[in-house]
Symmetry: C2
Subunit: 253 residues, 2 copies
């Protein structure tokens, strides 16, 4: 009983805190000092020190000789594992490539839902000089953007309300967008997450017909007018159909 | 105070347990059921369920539609980060390649210390059909193998005793090996970690002269006789010198 209790309260909280500390390392923060982690996390210094020591022990953080922390070599093992787990079948890679080419060089991507976020798990970068850049594995909001609405179209009303509440959004507006995405099988967005960035996304389902992923085209708003989207839709829905037929994605939990 | 307390006891333990659950996923176990995690970890089912839910929430685990768990897409973000943090300078990549070629096609690798383990952070795979295969990011014991002894040669006596004790090894024997590695700047091993696998490793130091890494050649024992090692040593120590001069590695903590 004592064991279970420790994981239910402070235990789970500590795991979340440790993961949140790791998440503070990104492209613009490749190294961080303990002080910076304290400031960025709002946690007590003693807490940060303990969690850092734990993460360091397992190789998830690495202390440089100047005392600054970087992502540890232990992450490389999971890197290999995650990349293998999320490697697309060759046909799906080809499908993303063709979609990008047929759209005239926009970036094509696959997003999956992850809790109340979405994550880009694969992409074919466009050939246009002005392009929308997303990093594989980057967490993005579920409430915003065409892919988010497509992914939400398969969720329960209760879940949708939770997402809206968490993001300070009107649940009715979000429900309407999800409903529209469910009805059409696709969604479009413009400047919701980031100004001047637009996208159109279509639904990919698993073998039980549940929403498993969203396949999208993304780029600058100027190249995603109503006329562009009309032209994109046939190639996009064709790609969504092909990805669905490959049956390599599952809806998750 | 309450915060610090939760991380000092059950908190840190929960973080370690969560990371240990993640570590149960590997090449031979790409998916696992909760039942399998319970059996493999020895933890109570309620504990595993809670930790899995926490890891799933942050995208580190993913629930397939059949209910089995796989490494989650959230790991992809850290994968990119870790690979960037541990990407070798081009000169170091070339150095490993030349070392492999000059050894007649054995695999060359760089190991760093991670707590009481060592981790391979880079390699150039040999061209021989019978080759020693190591995965990047794989944790290996510090007490065994030529690279382990080179890495231990920079550690305190107290640390060395801790490693020996943790592995059920004679601390005097280990201390003698580390001493010899410190004196020579290199070490050789045969069948210590795995039968019929041999290695020779040399020291790479940081800008303060501390042991930062071990560079090694590894292969089957039959190709690592005393004569072979004598032939390997000049090219290996040359590579160690070059890697040291590139100054891209730090000794860690």
């Amino acid at each position: 009983m004592e064991r279970a209790a420790s994981e239910s309260g402070g235990g789970v909280r500590s795991v979340l805190r440790a993961l949140d500390l790791l998440a503070l390392f990104d492209e613009s923060h490749r190294t961080r000092s303990v002080r910076e982690l304290v400031d960025a996390s709002g946690l007590a210094k003693s807490t940060v020190v303990r969690l850092v020591a734990t993460l360091e022990e397992r190789g998830l953080l690495w202390v440089q000789s100047d005392g600054r922390l970087t992502p540890g070599a232990g992450l490389l093992r999971w890197a290999a594992l995650a990349q293998e787990a999320w490697r697309l079948p060759l046909e799906a890679v080809e499908c993303l490539r063709v979609l990008s080419v047929e759209s005239g060089g926009e970036s094509s991507r696959i997003y999956v839902r992850q809790g109340t976020s979405r994550v880009c798990v694969a992409q074919h970068e466009g050939t246009q000089q002005l392009r929308h850049v997303v990093r594989i594995g980057e967490e993005m909001p579920l409430w915003a953007g065409a892919s988010g609405h497509v992914l939400l179209s398969g969720c329960t009303d209760a879940f949708l309300r939770r997402v809206a509440k968490g993001a300070g959004q009107d649940p009715e507006v979000l429900a309407e967008r999800a409903r529209l995405a469910a009805e059409r099988g696709w969604a479009a967005s413009d400047g919701e997450r980031e100004r001047s960035v637009a996208a159109v996304a279509a639904r990919v389902t698993d073998d039980q017909g549940r929403v498993a992923a969203a396949v999208s085209l993304g780029g600058p708003s100027s190249r995603f007018t109503a006329e562009h989207i009309e032209a994109f839709l046939p190639v996009l829905t064709k790609a969504a159909r092909e990805l669905t037929e490959l049956r390599f994605l599952s809806a998750g939990s």
